[in-house]
Amino acid sequence: MCTVCGCEETHTHEHQHEHQLEHAHHHYGNGLAGAHAAGLTQQRMVQIERDILGKNNQYADANRRYCQQHGVLALNLVSSPGAGKTTLLVNTLQALANKAPCAVIEGDQQTSNDADKIRQTGVKAVQINTGKGCHLDAHMVGHAIQDLDVKKESLLFIENVGNLVCPAAFDLGERYKVAILSVTEGEDKPLKYPDMFAAADILLLNKVDLLPYVEFDIDKARAYARQVNPGIRIFELSATTGQGMDKWLRWLEAERQVSVSGAEKALENATHAAV
C-alpha cells in the first residue's frame, strides 16, 4: 500500500525510470459505487460541505510536508506548449551540476521524450504520462516523489503539462509556481489566461534573444502580468543564449538555502520539543 495516500494499487518502490505511473489515474470511479444499503429507499437530503478539490489539496499538503521536512525546494513549472520549459530546465540543470542536488518530474500526455532529455544531463527524472488528463495532480506527484527518492536539500522541478488553464487550479504541494511566457507568444497572455498568471509567484519571460525579430512588447507583458498579479516576480532570460540566466540561478540557490535552513530550524524545534 502506498504510504503517501494509502491507495491500494500495487506500486513498486524500485527506482525504475520507466515506471508507469498511469495507475494514479485509475482511482476515480472504481470505488464503492456498488455499496448497498438495505431498506433505504426514501429520498432524503444529505449535507456534505466538501471541497471538490479537497482530496487533491490533502495530497498537496502531504507533498509540501515532505519537502519542508527534507529541505527540498519544489517548483511547479507551467506554460503553454512550446514556451521553452524543457530547454530552460535542461540548461538550468547543466548550470547547477555539482552545485545543488536536483530531481525532475516531467508531465506530458504522451511520450517520455522530455524525461529522456533531462536524464541526459545526469539528473534523475520521472515521466508521468497523464493520458487524457491535461494537468498533473498532487496524487501523481506524490508517487513520483517516492519513485525519485528525492535527496535532502534538493531542487525539485515539476514540469507540468503545457497548458495555461487547468494547472492553475491544482496545487501540487510546490513552494512556488513558475510561469514561463516566451516572446514568440502574445504579450497579452497574462490577460487572456489570468488565473494562471495570478496563481504564479514567478514569471520567466523566455527567449528574449528573439525580441529584435518579433512584435512582442516586453514592457506591456510586464504591465499585464502585474495587472493580474501585483506581487509577481519577473525574470527576463534566454535559456538558449544564457542571457539573464545568472539572476534566475542566483534566485534558485537563495531560495534553496531558505528551504534548507527552514528544515534545519524545524528539526531543531522538534528536538527541543522532544527534550
Binding site: V46, R50, I52, K55, K132, A169
Partner: protein, 118 residues
C-alpha cells in the same frame, strides 16, 4: 474565458469519488440530485460540468442525477479603502477607488453542499 472540457472532467471524477465515499459513510445507494456551490471565479463552465458528469457517472450510483449549481458572486477586499467590495471580474479594480490592490474574498468556491439521495 477559455475552458477545457477535460478540466471539468477531472472535477467530475472528484465529485463522483466524494459521492462514493459518502455513500458508504451515510448509507445511501442512489443519488438523484447534486447541489454545488460554484464561485464566479472558479473557472467552471456549468454546461461543460453537466455534460462531463453525465459521461463520468454512467453506470454509477449517481447516473442521471441532476446537477444544481448555486453561483457564488465575487467579493473582494480593497486594501486601499479597507472594506469589502463587489467584484464583477477576478481582476477588476475596486469600484470605489479604482485601485487594483484587491484581495479576493469570495467567488473561488467549488463545494458539494448537499446530495439528494435514496
Amino acid at each position: 474565458m477559455v475552458v477545457s472540457d477535460m478540466h471539468e472532467m477531472a472535477l467530475c471524477e472528484s465529485i463522483l469519488q466524494i459521492i462514493e465515499e459518502e455513500a458508504s459513510k451515510k448509507a445511501f445507494s442512489k443519488v438523484t440530485g447534486i447541489y454545488l456551490d460554484i464561485g464566479q471565479f472558479s473557472c467552471v463552465e456549468p454546461a461543460a460540468l453537466k455534460f462531463c458528469f453525465e459521461v463520468v457517472s454512467k453506470t454509477t450510483l449517481a447516473e442521471l442525477a441532476s446537477i444544481n449549481i448555486n453561483t457564488i458572486p465575487g467579493k473582494g477586499w480593497c486594501r486601499n479603502c479597507l472594506r469589502d467590495i463587489p467584484l464583477s471580474h477576478r481582476f477588476s479594480p475596486c469600484p470605489v477607488c479604482n485601485n487594483r490592490n484587491v484581495i479576493i474574498r469570495q467567488g473561488e468556491e467549488m463545494l458539494i453542499k448537499q446530495l439528494e439521495v435514496a
